[in-house]
Symmetry: C2
DNA sequence: TCGTGTGATGTTATACTATAACAATATTAA
DNA sequence: TTAATATTGTTATAGTATAACATCACACGA
C-alpha cells in the first residue's frame, strides 16, 4: 500500500505535493488533542465536517458539506452544517474564505495566526500561509488611525504556479 | 449655510472629520471625467448608485441600494443594482467589501491600487486606505510559491478610535 | 442518583445575497 | 441605414445564512 501522493497541495501544502493521507490524520489527531486540552467537544457531526474539509482538495461550501453529511446519514438541515462550521472556525480548526463563501481546514490549528489565502481561479485550490504578527500594511494602517483590529481577512485570487505553467501561452 | 461637518469620516476620511458634501462632489466629478476620458458611459442608474454610495456613511448592501433606487423612480429588480455595482467596481469607482457583502465608493478612483479596509463593528463605518505596490505579506508569499495575483482582498474588522473611546471601560 | 443547568442537536421557516436567461431598447460605428 | 454592441427590462431561480423554538444529552453539585 503506497502512500497516496497528491498532485495538489491543499491544506498545508500551498499547492505543493504532499502525503495527503498522512496530513489528514495528523491534523485530525491534533484537533482531537486540542479539544481535550481545551474542554471542547468534538462531537460526531463536528468531527465529520472537519474530516470532510481535510479530505477535500478545495474549499467546501456549507451546502457541499451539507450534502456530504446527508450522504453519511447525518441530519442535513442548513443549521447542522453552519453550526459545525461555526464551531470549527471559532476554535481555529477551520477558516472561512470570504471571497468564495467557503471553508477550509486550518493547517496550523495549534498556533494563533492571521491566515493568508491564495485562491487559484483555475484549479480552485487554496493555499494557506500566515503571519504571526501582522507585519503588513494592515497593521501599519491600523496603528496610524488608532483602529483596533479584531480579525483580518487577507486573500488573493489568481493563478497558482502549476496552472500558470499549464496555460496555453 | 455652513459647510456640513461629519463626525464620521467615510469614503476618503478613514474615520476622520471632513467636509462630506465637498468630498461627494469632488468624487462625483472625478467619476464623470474619468468616464469621459475612458469612453465609459455613466448612465443615470450608474450615476445614481455612485451618488448613493458617496452619500452613505457606511457601506451599502445591494438591496439597500435597490430600495433607494426604487424610491427614486428607478426600476428595482436585483439585476439593476448588481449591474450598476458591477460597472462601478469593474471600473474602479467602487469596491466590494467581502466581509460584509457590501459596497463603498472608492476614494481614489484615478489611481490603480489595492484597497485595504478597516471595518468598525460598532459604528459600521469603513475606512479605505491602500498600498500601491503590495509590499505586504501577501506579495511576499505569492512570490515564494510562484502564485500570480490578480486581485487581493485585505480587510480588518475591529473598533475605530472614536468608538473605542466611547466604550464603557 | 437525582435533579438542574448548560450546551448541543433537531426542525421549520424565512431572510438575505446573487445570477441565469432572454427580450427589448439604445448607442455607436461602418 | 444598418449592423454590431452595450445597456436596460423582466421573470425566475440559485445560492448563502440565520432566527426561533423544541428536544435531547451531558456534566456537575446537592
Amino acid at each position: 500500500m503506497t502512500a497516496k501522493k497528491d498532485t495538489l497541495g491543499l491544506v498545508a501544502g500551498a499547492f505543493r505535493q504532499h502525503d495527503h493521507a498522512k496530513c489528514i490524520s495528523l491534523l485530525m489527531n491534533a484537533a482531537r488533542d486540542l479539544c481535550t486540552e481545551r474542554g471542547l467537544r468534538l462531537t460526531p457531526v463536528r468531527e465529520k465536517v472537519l474530516k470532510l474539509l481535510l479530505k477535500s482538495h478545495a474549499p467546501l461550501g456549507a451546502y457541499d458539506i451539507l450534502s456530504e453529511l446527508a450522504a453519511s446519514g447525518f441530519r442535513a438541515q442548513p443549521p447542522v452544517a453552519y453550526r459545525a462550521l461555526d464551531f470549527l472556525v471559532d476554535n481555529g480548526f477551520a477558516h472561512r474564505i470570504e471571497k468564495i463563501n467557503a471553508f477550509v481546514a486550518c493547517s496550523q490549528p495549534r498556533d494563533k495566526h492571521s491566515p493568508i489565502f491564495m485562491i487559484c481561479n483555475d484549479c480552485h485550490q487554496v493555499a494557506e500561509t500566515s503571519v504571526r504578527s501582522q507585519s503588513s500594511s494592515l497593521d501599519r494602517t491600523a496603528r496610524a488611525i488608532g483602529f483596533d483590529i479584531k480579525h483580518t481577512v487577507v486573500e488573493a485570487e489568481g493563478l497558482c504556479a502549476e496552472c500558470r505553467e499549464r496555460m496555453p501561452q
